[in-house]
């Protein structure tokens, strides 16, 4: 049986210590859970393990034999295989091409022996029940199958230690269950598995042991048979965490957003949103659940004027908005937290102050007759920085130098500091620390309690369940199911996977 042991691993980047004196151990036939919130140093640790980084100090031993990895190749040949959170797959390559990349079988003049490789891929996929067509292009596969390709990739390299980095982030609950089955059967064949996640119930469900990582250090171990959700959360965050939010019951008022028979095309001209109708009223949060890529992005873009709709009606506050564009939507009082802050929420090499006026730089008091008034910008932005607890040295600091959580608070602060009538929050807490998550959730609830309507789009089921008054589930661009009050998570899970019953 294989065994892997990390001793006193430390790794820092400049002044930032990402990992400090990490000790973990896993052996064949067991699943070790590595629990930690975003920014705790999980990814750095995994990059050390997979040979992408060299640790500053400490040792990695496999079967009690000390190893040093200069490149991923060394880690692979030592039997370590990594299933990445963001799939490391070339979309325009076939399954087989992705699997063999770096370990190609070639004949005369380095020519590829594709059919032989395809046969091998098929063998592995059948042996471990990881069904995919070896000839299919990755970009045509659903997310769940893509993950199976990732697993086949490491098995093809005869990995004995498998590392799963946040593997459930993009899966439906059903796909998660299936993944856990696969992990268990891999465990049964004697492989050692390290499962990295920030989701408490998942470690409790599938792991044999749990190590908890916080601020770059291992802060404790737990036994999943006895540990509770609350206990783990406290260890992970380092202070008591309030998992359930206080919510007053909602008193929905007038209809603020009314969507009728909306259809929207995607970038590739697919019908991304297909004939959907719903509304959001005053004083309620409507959650849009669904697995990533089921039309959420296009829906939000259409609602905010970033994308023209194919057909259907969108009315805000009882009126259709002619020639919808982002500026007009903003001017009538709709605020938008975009799904990807790096992509469109902030401008990295603009200062915090410049970022805070992104939506209304053109209007008084920030500018008059085309002339910017930087003094006013400075005063106003300092107010927002204070009110929304944005941790930044000054408002002249470049936004790219802030942490993810503070960048997100910058976006939230910008959107919610001026008068809000309606808020569209898309993935408002993706990839940020628990403190910031709690803070942003409080802001959303506060805004709702003040009578605003909120459309919350999230792929985190827990977030949807914790915040929403009503839930609609998107599947392949359609509303497959609506829930008037909080349903059982399993029911939403089924709907997310496309079961309408």
């Amino acid at each position: 049986m294989v065994s892997i042991e990390l001793k006193n691993i430390s790794k820092s980047f400049g002044p930032v210590t990402a990992n400090k004196d990490i000790n973990i151990f896993a052996k064949g036939g067991e699943i070790l859970g590595l629990l930690g919130e975003n920014g705790a140093g999980k990814t750095t640790l995994m990059n050390v393990l997979s040979g992408l980084y060299r640790p500053d100090s400490g040792t990695i031993s496999i079967n009690n034999e000390e190893k040093t990895f200069d490149s991923p190749r060394d880690a692979i040949s030592a039997g370590i295989g990594m299933v990445h959170q963001h799939f490391m797959l070339v979309p325009i390559f076939s399954v087989t091409e992705n699997v063999i990349l770096g370990n190609e079988e070639t004949g005369f003049a380095n020519f590829l022996k594709l059919s032989e490789s395809e046969r091998k891929v098929k063998e592995i996929s059948e042996k471990y029940s990881l069904f995919v067509d070896p000839k299919e292009k990755i970009e045509r596969l659903p997310v769940g199958s893509q993950q199976r390709v990732e697993i086949i990739k490491v098995l093809f390299r005869s990995a004995e230690v498998l590392i799963f980095d946040e593997p459930t982030a993009v899966l439906t609950p059903q796909e998660v269950a299936e993944l856990f089955n696969i992990m268990n059967s891999l465990k049964a064949t004697g492989k050692a598995i390290i499962f990295i996640t920030h989701k408490l119930h998942e470690v409790l469900e599938v792991c044999d042991r749990i190590s908890i990582l916080r601020a770059g250090e291992i802060v404790g171990e737990a036994d999943p048979k006895v540990a509770s959700n609350k206990e783990l959360a406290n260890m992970m965050v380092g202070r008591p965490v309030n998992l359930s939010l206080e919510r007053r019951s909602s008193k929905p008022g007038k209809i603020l957003l009314d969507v009728k028979n909306l259809s929207v095309l995607s970038e590739k001209l697919d019908l991304a949103v297909s004939d959907i109708s719903f509304d959001v009223k005053e004083g309620e949060i409507v959650g849009v659940a669904g697995v990533q890529g089921n039309g959420q992005t296009e829906l939000v873009e259409a609602l905010t004027g970033l994308r023209s709709s194919l057909s259907g009606k969108i009315s805000y506050f009882g009126q259709m908005v002619p020639n919808m564009n982002p500026r007009k939507i903003h001017q009538i009082g709709v605020r938008h937290i975009p799904e990807d802050r790096q992509k469109s929420g902030i401008i990295g090499n603009f200062s915090v102050g410049e970022n805070l006026i992104l939506n209304n730089y053109y209007a008084a008091p920030y500018s008059k007759h085309l002339k910017m008034d930087w003094d006013v910008v400075s005063i106003e932005s300092q107010k927002i920085i204070k009110n929304f607890d944005i941790r930044t040295p000054s408002n002249d600091t470049l936004a790219q130098n802030l942490s993810g959580g503070n960048q997100q608070k910058l976006v939230v602060g910008r959107e919610m500091s001026s008068h809000v009538d309606f808020l569209i929050a898309s993935q408002p807490t993706r990839g940020i620390d628990v403190g910031s998550i709690e803070y942003i959730h409080e802001q959303l609830i506060k805004s709702r309690n003040a009578g605003n309507g909120i459309l919350l789009v999230s792929t985190e089921l827990e977030e949807i369940l914790a915040l929403s008054d009503r839930i609609i589930v998107l599947f392949r661009g359609r509303i497959i199911k609506e829930f008037e009050s909080n349903p059982a998570p399993e029911q939403i899970g089924l709907a997310m996977a496309g079961h309408s019953i």
Partner: protein, 415 residues
């Protein structure tokens, strides 16, 4: 169901657009090329000493052009009636081809014109463009934009002339390739190791190549003219097939550069798409991080291919001197490197595609040259502009369908 909606929506728009374009072309050629044109257009297919001679092709100008204009309009209307066609871009290609024949007939009406000569010149003129395009494919497939090809052609031309003058053509060619490789390596060092913006680095290389070759020309070659008098590669007739009418002179009576370009195109196609290293190279261009996690050395492969691109460009540059006129003149490549980049884009980052596009450019180039003899009312400067305008139109029209390697322009940094 979704897929159908998508494709039909897209195709209807495109089909319609192309329909209108074809009708416009038909009307245009009716009034410009057909009305009031007299005489026959005589196209010479063989030259006096060809072993297998063909008769001249005699086309009655006005009837032919009226007929073709009618066909163009008919095709356009047909597309509009059909509303949707999978072959609309094929129609467009056919339409442009017909329009060019119209133009030729119009320009030749009452005169005679060597068609074979023009086709032969097309292949010759396409050669440096195809090589520049191939250099572009090689480096862009590993996600390195190579604006510096123009400069690499220039140094190749220079090295070919100088070393060819001293040591003879073959050694000159080897030095041209070597110097091209050095400039490729320089680009690689700048953009891969020092992460200089790829376009800026390319511009710098172009200026550097222009400055260096011009400086050396005025410093060395002016005072030592024997250093700028290189032998030219002689045409090699391929036995038997070179005697075929039209096809023989067009394809099989060229010097080593034409055959070499063809061999390089075929070899690179296999290299990129059928070998293990090719798989890694393409992965490096599409998703370098994925390749890195599997132990593929991203930076090394980028170095390899960018240097190879420099070698190909150096070879293409040598065409200008030892493959063509035997002497170097300042800035003699005249923007062929940039046209090569355009050819790469139309060729959708595929060596064979780049070759096809280069042939189109070569055709425009030789057409302009040969038409000057026919004394058409169009000023020669405007004919000289035609390929550039065509490039702009094609770049504007083709974008969206062509897809560059995903990681293009981005340096690879392990975070």
């Amino acid at each position: 169901m979704n897929m159908e909606v998508k494709s039909s929506y897209h195709q209807i728009k495109q089909t319609q657009l192309i329909g209108y374009i074809l009708i416009a072309l038909g009307i245009f050629s009716t009034f410009v090329f057909s009305v009031g044109v007299e005489g026959d257009a005589v196209f010479r297919l063989s030259r006096p000493r060809d072993p297998l001679a063909l008769q001249n092709l005699v086309v009655p100008a006005s009837p032919y052009n009226f007929f073709v204009s009618f066909v163009l309009t008919f095709l356009g209307i047909r597309l509009l009636i059909k509303r949707m066609s999978n072959y609309s871009s094929l129609y467009l290609g056919l339409g442009f081809f017909l329009l060019i024949t119209c133009f030729l007939v119009w320009a030749t009406a009452g005169k005679s014109f060597s068609l074979t000569g023009m086709l032969q010149a097309t292949v010759v003129r396409a050669t440096p463009i195809a090589l520049a395009g191939l250099a572009g494919v090689l480096s862009e497939r590993v996600a390195v934009i190579n604006i510096g090809i123009e400069g690499m052609l220039l140094v190749g031309a220079f090295a070919g002339a100088v070393f060819g003058s001293i040591f003879g053509g073959l050694i000159g060619l080897i030095f041209a390739i070597f110097v091209g490789a050095l400039f490729g390596l320089l680009l690689a060092v700048l953009v891969i190791t020092y992460r200089v913006d790829q376009i800026i680095a390319g511009v710098a290389i172009n200026i550097l190549a222009l400055g260096t070759t011009s400086f050396l020309t005025s410093h060395l070659l002016k005072s030592h003219p024997h250093l700028n008098d290189a032998p030219i590669f002689k045409p090699i007739k391929i036995p038997f097939i070179s005697d075929l009418p039209v096809i023989g002179p067009t394809f099989f009576q060229h010097n080593f550069f034409v055959y070499g370009a063809l061999i390089l195109i075929i070899a690179s196609t296999f290299y990129l798409f059928n070998t293990g290293i090719g798989l890694r190279l393409r992965a490096v261009g599409e998703h370098p991080k994925a390749a890195d996690t599997l132990g593929v050395n991203v930076l090394k492969l980028r170095y390899l291919n960018v240097t190879l691109a420099g070698m190909v460009a150096g070879f293409g540059g040598a065409w200008f001197t030892i493959g063509s006129v035997g002497r170097f003149d300042e800035a003699m490549t005249g923007g062929r490197g940039f046209i090569g980049l355009a050819a790469m884009i139309f060729g959708r980052w595929h060596p064979v595609g780049a070759l096809m596009a280069a042939l189109v450019f070569g055709f425009a180039d030789s057409l302009q040259q040969k038409l000057a003899i026919l004394k058409t009312p169009i000023p020669s400067e405007f004919l000289a502009m035609a390929p550039y305008i065509a490039t702009i139109v094609l770049v504007a029209g083709l974008i969206g369908r062509a897809r560059a390697p995903n990681a293009i322009g981005k340096p690879y940094i392990k975070e």
